[in-house]
Structures are given as C-alpha cells and as structure tokens.
Symmetry: C2
Subunit: 325 residues, 2 copies
C-alpha cells in the first residue's frame, strides 16, 4: 500500500482540464434534467446530470477515454487491459475501439453472458478467470506479461479520476449556484473526480456520497478515518461493491461533506419511481443518491442539489422490483 | 357522421400558432435525442422528439392544455370531461388541474387501478362505467347533463389537433432539413397535428404514420380511401387501438405520404432495444415508428427523419418482453 501511494500521483485540476480537452470528441456533454415531481417530493431543487446517456452507458467512459487517449503511440500499440465485469470494462473497450487499439478485459467465467457480449460488442477481448481474487490476479498478470498492455484501474488511477472530474465541470457550467452535489460511492472514482473539480471551481459546494447500507464500507471508513474494506458485500447496486483505495480515500477524507446510506428497498423504490416519473432508464447504483435525499428531507429541503445519475446499464430481463431468481 | 363533420371545424396553422402561445407555460419544449447506435443500425439519421418527457408523460398534454386554456371563464367553471382510460384522461386532468377547474373522466370499472390512481393523482374525478360502448355512452351523457362540462374528445377535436401540431412546430425549430417525420397512428391526433404544421412550414417533408399490424385500420383506410373501423383490435401498443374519425381522416387522406405497419414482436423488440441503447422509458406505441424504419431500411437509409416518441406511461410491473399474465 505505502509503495503504491508513492507511485500514484494525486491528480490536479489542471489534469481535469487537460482530460476534458482530450476526451471531448469521444464523450457526450450529457444533459441535466429536472423534475417538478421530485422537487415537490423532496422540497429541494434537484438537477440530474444524466450520465446514463453517456457513451457506453455510464460516466466511466470519461476516465477510460482519458487514460486511452493519453497514451503515447508506442504504449497505445500494445493496448490496454483491466479486470472488471462492469461499466469500466465496457468503457475501456469503447475508448480503445475509438482509438483503434486492443483492449483486454479479464472477467470471471461466471459473469453474465450479456456483460461479456456487451464488452465484445465494443470490440474488447475477454480473458476468463475463475471467480476468485487469486485467479483473477494470476490471469491478469499473465495478460499484462503477454501483451505488454497498459493497466487501467477502474478508479485508483489518476488518469481515471481526472477523467471523471470532467462530469462536475460540465455540471458547474450547466447549473448555477448549486449548494451541493451528490453521487453514489463504490470505489470512489466519481466522488474523487467531483471533489477534485469542485474544490477548485466551487469550494463552498457541499459534496455528499451515497452508499447502500449493505455495502457501507466507505461510510464506515469515513467515520473511522481509515480505509475499511468489506469482503464481497451483497447489494442490488452492483457497481458499488468495491472498496476505496489510496487515491480515492485521499479525496473522500479531505473533501467529502458526509456519506449517507440507504437500504436495498429504499434504493429499489427510488429507482422505480425515477423510471416512472422521469422516464429514464438508470442503474440501481444511480438511485442511491435520490434514496438518501428522500430519507433526509430536512437536511436537503430548500437546497439546489446536483445529483449524478451514474449509468444506465441494466438487465431489462431482470429488474429488481420484479423479484430475483 | 355527416352531421358531425359540419360541426367540426378543420383547424388551421394559425390555430397551431395560437395554441403554442396559449400552452407554452404548461408544457415542455421536449428535447430531441440522437443515437449513434440507431443511426448505424438503420443507415438513416434519426431525431427522436421525446414526448415521453412531456407533462403527464405524453404528447396529449398539448392538445388537452389547448382545449382547457381556450375555454371562456363561464365554461371553464363547469369543467371538462372525457372518456379515456389512457393518456388523454391523464392529460386532461393535468391541464384542468393547472387551470384549477374540474375534470371528469369516464372509465370502465375494469380499467387497471394504476390508471385510475394516475388520473386521481392529477386531480381528475373518475366516473366508472361498464366495459361496453353502450354503457360508456350512457354514463358519459349523464355526466355532461349533470355537470355541464365541456367534452374534449381525445383526437377528433380541432382544439386537440391544433395542440398536437405544436410538437412538430418545435421539432422544425430544433432540427434543420428533415426529409421525413414519422409518428404512430391510432385515432390520428398526433399525425393530424403533424400534417397541419408541416404542410404549412415544410410542405416538402414526407409524413409517415406507423401502425401495429394487429390494429391496422388506418393502413386499410388509407389504402381503401375511406374510414375502416375495427372492433376491439388487440395489440401491445394499447394507445393505438382506436379508429380514425372525420377530422383526423381529413389530414390522413390529404397529407400522409404512407402508412407502414409492424408486427407485435417487431414492436416489442424495437421498444426493448430503445430502452437498452437510449436509456429512455417509452410506451409500446412509441416503438412502432422505429420498428417500421428497421424493417424498411432501404426506404429510409440516408434520410434525416424526425421520430416522435409519443409517450412514456408504462406499467413497470408488466413489461411486454417479460410475458403477460
């Protein structure tokens, strides 16, 4: 850990600005939606930054594109690699495809076929491992050794954090006078990028992270003052199961106002209500902020709050309010 | 029929302009979305006018608002009434609520509780009838006699058609150089409004109507040259079961380029694919245009096409790709 932190450079706001210039041709400046209904329900004024409309369906296209398009030609030729069965694997495949370089994604052989198909749909190559950390690490090490690919971590990577920081930079231009910005927290990449940008352009804006009660390691880390990592937490918000790492902990520790949690039922209810009333498809993870605003009405009433809808990649055959098998 | 047509005035483009001024405070100028994915798939350039984001969840808020806000005070005091278990009932309740006048909606007692709750949520009053045309007509006549309310027909009403015409007026301002505009057709209110506007502002633009094969009365009417009405057709696109009436037939007969149809499976596939790729919630009816574009690739490739996504009110507990009970 201590060795890693000396290697990993904490990104600066200049890195966010450079990232934005670099990735603009490959990402959407996503729209901000409002809802009279949700404003009435919460007593707050909510501004939803819709990264579910982002390329590859999630904000992760920002960080992945920044990493991919920042590589020099020699390294780019060898490609990029990551281990992720979620949006980062998709996004890295998307970005590599746009640059025309190889992307390898190590994924458990037990991952859903739909996720594998999506990665391949964006041109990524899948190498399967067993569903264990030791197998994943061994297989991933082989991939790196064989291909010489550049490892792009889903969140503990300064290029990725600087890329995610472009989201609240856009939001800051789109909505004036926000009192607070809220995003879900898993590994902390989006929250870190948000902290990085807002602490520079709007240091008075509060930053809230929202987390499932069932995977509240960031909440407990925040209260304890050091990283606490859980082993395989179970939550419907499957993008939020991963722990903080040193870079993201740096931003959480120094810039986050508070971390709030919501139960599984509260998350599913907020997700379904958003689909019904706002007519947008979003992931369970994206519903966690609204769920926490709804249960902390007094804290947020009267405030102007930016809410980051992080992604929209869901299995439409298996929606969480329909019961699971 | 012949008596009715002498009473019903065919609306003009000036009526559309007046409607737009009248309803602007109560409706959204809905966004136009594009999709690299669907452009690739169809070979066309598609511009989706998203009325699923409209007030009350569908374009019907336009026509209903125009009717409600066009009433003089004496009539307004007595309220408005309609028979509809779908979006028009919702929209009329919404518009009446905004003006602060009563709305009565006659609905079969067998209509889903969710639809009744939605009407009541917008402040509408429901009067139940038996699920038959004779009962509906008898109950509705009683309502009109008792309340003196103004009847606002879901589509065969010049005020409603002029209101729906504001949608393509916005689209015309939002997207330049459209070769064609396509909308689903049921009773024909949206298509008529589209014809009314485009025949005035862009007469060279082609106008396509899209219809379920299972409820293809407008298609057969168009080919036969007179109105053919079906008895209770069955289709997943439940907003499109109603027949053309004299006013809407006027526009279809004179201004529609062609009517294309799609099967139930094609509609459901297009709907699911839109949710997956565009991350928007839309009704089965709204997927019919895309379904017909996908199956008529050669006809539309290379063209710039406005596609009207008519609404987003769906039962999330009962999605058509999940099987029905």
């Amino acid at each position: 850990m201590s060795e890693a932190i000396t290697e990993l450079k904490i990104p600066t706001y200049d890195d966010v600005l450079a990232a934005h210039e670099r990735i603009k041709p490959y990402i959407h400046n996503t729209p901000v939606l409002t809802s009279t209904y949700f404003n009435g329900l919460t007593g707050a004024e909510l501004f939803f930054k819709c990264e579910n409309f982002q390329k590859a369906g999630a904000f992760k296209a920002r960080g992945a594109s920044n990493a991919v398009f920042g590589l020099d030609d020699a390294q780019a030729e060898k490609g990029v690699a990551t281990h992720s069965s979620g949006n980062h694997g998709l996004s890295l495949s998307y970005a590599a495809g746009r640059r025309g370089i190889p992307a390898t994604v190590v994924m458990p052989r037990t991952a859903p076929d739909a996720k594998k198909a999506a990665v391949r749909g964006y041109g990524g190559r899948i190498v399967e491992c067993e569903p264990s950390t030791s197998s994943r690490e061994a297989v991933f090490a082989e991939v790196l050794a064989e291909t010489g690919s550049e490892f792009v971590h889903p969140y503990n990577d300064p290029r990725v954090i600087a890329g995610q920081g472009t989201c609240s930079r856009e939001l800051f231009d789109q909505v004036e006078g926000l009192d607070a910005v809220m995003a879900p927290i898993g590994g902390g990449g989006m929250i870190s990028g948000t902290c990085l940008t807002l602490s520079n352009v709007a240091p008075e804006t509060e930053i809230y992270a929202a987390e499932p009660e069932n995977a509240d390691d960031a909440y407990r880390s925040f209260k304890a003052g050091h990283i606490i990592a859980d082993d395989a937490p179970q939550t419907v918000a499957d993008g939020l199961k991963v722990p903080l790492k040193e870079l993201t902990w740096h931003f959480v520790e120094n810039h986050v106002t508070d971390i709030l949690t919501a139960s599984e039922q509260e998350i599913v209810d907020a997700m379904k209500l958003t689909w019904e009333r706002m007519k947008i498809v979003m992931e369970p993870s994206s519903a966690v902020p609204l769920a926490t605003i709804l249960k902390n009405r007094d804290r947020f009433a009267g405030k102007r709050i930016g809410v980051i809808i992080t992604g929209g990649n869901v299995d439409l055959n298996k929606l969480p309010w329909m019961g699971n098998d």
